[in-house]
């Protein structure tokens, strides 16, 4: 296992290979936010949606800002293209679709992410994870607005 090799696979958009390298690296270094941020994306691109959600919530709890500031150039964040691809795929617009979309949107835009998670919630109103996420993201948004206005 090698974080550097995982980084290269991620850069080359080889998500399955990146996952295989980065997962054990995170086990060795559980505080590594950079690996977490990449792994969430790898999970979404390899059909491991539950794992994506679990790690996403962990990172949201830890540092929302770190997800939001992911930059397509500076950080080689592929989320713009991934959101675009997801929307092009004509997938059934169900709770899972919107959840996945919400995760990816947070790497680009907070409000869009909240909107999409709210759509996901309409398919499963009792979903505690989604409720928690939306609450957390809205709280962060309000805090940020407060900071800006003060």
């Amino acid at each position: 296992m090698s974080e550097m090799l995982g980084n290269q696979y991620f850069m080359a958009r080889k998500y399955t290979d990146a996952l295989a390298e980065l997962e054990p690296c995170l086990a060795e270094d559980p505080q590594n936010k950079s690996i977490k941020r990449k792994l969430v994306i790898c999970y979404t691109q390899t059909g491991k949606n539950q794992k994506a959600m679990d790690l996403f919530i962990e990172l949201v709890d830890e540092d929302i800002e770190f997800i939001l500031t992911a930059d397509p150039i500076k950080d080689d964040c592929p989320c713009n293209e991934l959101v675009e691809n997801l929307e092009k795929q004509n997938l059934p617009e169900n709770g899972e679709f919107y959840t996945l979309s919400g995760i990816l949107w947070l790497y680009c835009d907070l409000q869009s992410s909240i909107d999409v998670f709210e759509k996901a919630l309409t398919f499963d109103l009792e979903n505690k994870t989604l409720q928690y996420l939306i609450k957390k993201l809205n709280f962060y948004k309000d805090q940020k607005s407060l900071k800006l206005s003060s």
Binding site: M4, N7, D76
Partner: protein, 444 residues
Amino acid sequence: MAINDKLKDHILESIGEGVFTVDKNFKINFFNKAAENITGYSREEVLGRFCKHIFRSELCYTDCPIAISLKSKKTIYDYESKIQTKSGIAKPIKLNSAVLYNEEEQPTGGIISFRDNSELVVLKNSLEKENTFKGIVGHSKQMQEIFDLIKEISESAAPVFIHGESGTGKEMVANAIQATCARNNNPFIKVNCSVFPSTLLASELFGHVKGAFTDAFKDRPGRFELADSGTLFLDEVAEMPLQMQLQLLRVLQEGSFERVGESITRKVDVRVISATNINIKDALKKGILREDLFYRLSVIPIEIPPLRERMDDLFPLVQHFLKKFSILYKKQILDIDDKALDYLLKYKWPGNIRELENVIEYAFVRTTNSDIIEFAKLPATIRENSQKSFSITDKHSFAENGGEITKMLALLEKHHWNKQKVADELKIGRTTLWRKLKKLGFET
């Protein structure tokens, strides 16, 4: 003596090869002057940026050389790639790549050194357009037979043994075999067995483990491991010490070996092409070359004739080298005068094609105010040696035949050495042409 960082920087700045390093995220953190010249980017523009955004090579997504080094834990040499310059021009490069490790042996970054390969690619393409076989010029019957054999064995992975005098092009034949065989996309590793002292050859071929000998600071794979699934070219194989020959025989028979200082047996799948210029019969008789090894290596033997036995190839070779040097030296000299050619045809060429290439390069460099190589520009060895071997009749005969040689050779070249077509164009009988060629010393 330890080299301080300032001196290291100075060295890296002054070399002609582009050098850059990346951190473990593949962001560029060093970019030397030559790299600026080759890519058109200034250092300030690239530092802190992802290498893939700068070089925009397809390989960044398929076969990143640093990723290959990371996976194989080996340095990659002479890897061909194409990058985009700042102005968007695709530029072929040749690069070496290695991984940088910290004290805990963890990868912390990578280093790539690269050089602009544009001119060589132009040269290669231009020479390939000629009537050659994988870059080998050979119109003679003997060479055509070798080319046919190479094509016939393209599906086989059997060992090939190439024998020929020094300078006949054994390595080029080995390259052609590799280029046409099914393993052509796999590693092709070359070892000159005479270069290494016997104590180091075992380590070079089979690798060693840390502590195996004084300078073995870390584990190192040998050439057999590097060539796994591909081909190993053992040049000057008969120079190998007898003990090593025994070890080589075992790899050929069983496909297995051990690194120096280690008892773990490793398996490899390697095709071996070997070559030598020594007299095989003598070597076997004197016990310099093991008979069992020789028979194992020479499943497919190839004998490359010396240039003096295939003088049909001399003129096409001269043309080939003139073209090559015209591109390399950026000056157009594409012909040779009759007298110079006559002397080249009379010379015995003990150093074979390599010697011919050197002679042409020498004359090419000396030719400054003409677009043709003149006799006076040939090295003294050719002018004097050939003169000595001339009889009075020979001189008379050559003077008499003058430009006829060049004309005939040009026609032979034009008609791909179809002698009937040449005779037709000269409006002479085929027998007359045969007689003329024979008189001029050609194989007919």
